[in-house]
Amino acid sequence: MKMHLLRSAFLALVMLAAQPAQAQAPRPLVWGDTLPATLDPHAIFDVPSQFVLLNVYDGLYRYQGNPPRLEAWLAESHTVSADGLTWDFTLRAGVKFHDGSAMTAEDVVYSFRRLLTMNRGPSAAFTPVLTPDRVTATGPLTVRFVLSSPYSPFLTAMPLVAIVNPRAIAPNVVNNDWGAAWLAVNSAGSGAYSVLPGNYQPRISLDIQRFPDFFRGWAGNPRPVETVRARPVMETSTRVLALLRGEIDATDSYLPTDQVERVERNPRTRVARDESMRVFVIRMNNMRSPFNNRDARLCLTHAFNYEGFNNVILRGFVVRNGGPNPNNLWGNPPDLVPYAFDLTRARAHCDAARAAGVDLSRPLEIHVQNELEQTVQAAQMYQADLRRLGITLRIVPNTWPGITSSTTRSETTPDMWIHWVSTYFVDPENWVGQMYDSQFHGTWKASSWYSNPEVDRLLRAARTSLNREERQRLYADATRRVVADAPDIWVYNTVNLRGLSRRIEGYTFSPVGSGGEIRLMSLAE
């Protein structure tokens, strides 16, 4: 009896330790990046939703490459009237949705009306200048947009909008919800991949399969990935271990810098390093003392150890960025000289501020995003250096929703807080335009509450001009003025670090979507 029990226990242990037979079969591509909370491309706009937008849906235009260039996608071409108000788009013929039906101008009109009426996600880029009734089909394959005022970033924001299939959505509309409940867990796109029905679990898993009738064809990739299983890994250490062990083929694109060597040492994995367009910035509430004084701001600007943070803590996996725009963006003045860490100059500016009656004795608060370690590290380093100037900095743990919701009023906006400005659309409007034009006060992007009438004038002129050279000059001028006023502390432009299995070939990075476009990839045999 005893022998029997022992034998059973031993067999059970062997079974538990044994690899399942199926593990020997070829593995599909397992994508370990974060998934969005909903699949509806009109309901949400954040970094994770780009994966769905780029792989399952198409827009009229799309960003490709790095630095990103705007390519006609579902549209073939466009024209714009001399006053910058009327935009006509000619659509590509022969585009099929995943259900096999052909895309028409009416589908584009439906998509924009759905977006603008639901008034969520990326609609904010359009609602100031566009209403649903001003989007019309002028032919089977031509669409007209009539703006209420000239807005030159209109075209650059086009890739934000997914064109959806109304024929797939219509049977699933409940209480005039534009099919929102249904589209949150299903798809109605024309993209290179379609969602495997019933397989999606919000933020846990998403399986997509190749769409053979994708309108751009597959000739450019002879061995496309057939099936992708997106399985986000929540914890950073587990994500790295899972990559090293071969359980996932790609991490997110924010691999901690202290893990880069470890991933590169493993013969099965590598790290893709690509300069992105994502600026790390320490905000200051310019409406509150001492930040309403330029000398005080310059004191704080010179007190941050850029070299130490970028090259020691982040091991040089970032690029020093001296202004609000990413270095590699058009419209950013190439002659911009970044502020340097210089405690002597900082002390001189502090003294000047004190002489002007500014009180620097009160403890300043800096809000960090607790789950994002870099924000905490930057604050801790800054705290130590400010102490040498006799300034007390209190670090307040917070979350992204907690901080952004407090920035709607200057009274509730923190003294200082740390975040990144990512690439929502590739235009200086996304950075300097929306961060420092006072008309955006109340949004998190303009949360330094900076106000300079001349900068406002330049940015508004740049927003309405259709001449690229003129816009470039206006944005550069505005940027120089903003940097001279030092309303915030700009630290670095991100180098995206994505851990990849060496099985993946053809990985191509673009700051929009962070290299998550699967149609360009193949798996090594």
């Binding site: 399942p20 954040d46 929703p401």
Partner: protein, 335 residues
């Protein structure tokens, strides 16, 4: 006994009511505007205000609380403010993963904790007793996320014996969903390979989760047995010539275990809430990771629902513990 059970259930109801009210108030005073989160990164103040009005977030807090109470009483947990999906659907999908992990961890803790506690008491101040005491103090003191990472490094990365994360190997897929418990569903589907894979995935998170519980159960069992061993009936039984094993398991343990059973009940609730860290490290798609995501995205509807569900489970387990105690020791019911 039925009157006793009814009384225990009646006592749990006000506690649940208090939980609903308290969590609602807490969820609405913590920082973070769900409307701003829902509106997205590029939203304007006007857009945020529109969403706030659409979801009733601009109403007085008492009015919002009343609407929430009405919803809960009608069995509607509302929609996630972030994904727009019914929260009950999300929870129904996630809860079995947490319960499966918790049950297995509790089973491990109980099956190992009680014998260890008994063994330690019977070897009072001996080497085994010292060893169990050291282990139980260590088990309680060790940070679970640290232990989780250490186990991952050793058993997954170094020895390649057990999976690192998740509930099932990705290429294997999942068995057809019947109960949501993968151990059961894979057996129902007749998939032995899936059962083995699910069991392998359970080992590391369950051991990590079980360890503090095991330590608690061992300590309570040990002290309960030590106390019982001092009683007159034990002296009498010894004098009557009862064997050491029979005396310990049949007489002493039954009298000593009442406190342990209470602890097991309390542990169940603690394990569910403790699963948050474990689920995050092992990428376990349960209620804990759902709660963390709800907190980070200020999805207060989801957070309220999770708290309520955990509260109901906690209350139900407490009632069961009371009943179990009454069955073990009938004097409890009479009191």
């Amino acid at each position: 006994m039925l009157a006793y059970i009814a009384r225990r259930i009646a006592l749990a109801l006000p506690a649940l009511f208090g939980l609903v009210v308290l969590t609602f108030i807490l969820s609405r005073v913590i920082p973070g505007d769900p409307a701003a989160t829902l509106a997205g990164d590029a939203a304007t103040p006007a857009q945020i205000a529109d969403i706030r009005a659409r979801y009733g977030l601009d109403r007085p807090i008492m009015e919002q609380a009343w609407v929430h109470m009405r919803q809960v009483l009608s069995g509607d947990l509302g929609n996630s403010i972030f994904s727009g999906r019914p929260v009950s659907e999300d929870i129904a999908r996630r809860l079995p993963a947490t319960l499966e992990l918790t049950f297995v961890a509790l089973l491990l803790a109980t099956c190992l904790g009680i014998p260890l506690g008994l063994l330690a008491a019977l070897n009072h101040n001996g080497p085994i007793d010292h060893l169990v005491r050291v282990l139980s103090v260590g088990g309680l003191a060790m940070a679970s996320f640290w232990l989780a990472i250490m186990l991952q490094l050793q058993f997954s990365m170094e020895w390649d014996l057990l999976p690192l994360r998740g509930r099932m190997d990705v290429p294997l897929g999942l068995p057809p969903r019947v109960t949501g418990f993968l151990l059961i569903d894979s057996l129902l589907a007749g998939r032995g390979d899936m059962f083995v894979d699910a069991a392998r995935h359970l080992v590391l998170p369950a051991v990590t989760l079980a360890l503090p519980g095991l330590a608690t159960i061992a300590r309570f069992t040990r002290s309960g047995v030590l106390e019982a061993l001092q009683k007159d009936y034990v002296l009498y039984a010894r004098a009557a010539g009862y064997g050491r094993f029979r005396l310990a398991t049949v007489y002493v343990l039954r009298n000593a275990i009442t406190v342990t059973v209470t602890q097991i009940g309390l542990l169940f609730g603690a394990l569910i809430s403790g699963a948050v860290a474990i689920e995050a490290v092992f990428d376990w798609p349960g209620l804990g990771t759902y709660a963390v995501q709800a907190i980070l995205s200020a999805d207060y509807k989801a957070l309220l629902a999770v708290t309520l569900v955990v509260g109901v489970i906690y209350a139900a387990v407490n009632v069961l513990v009371d009943v179990a105690q009454a069955l073990i020791d009938p004097r409890v019911a009479l009191q």
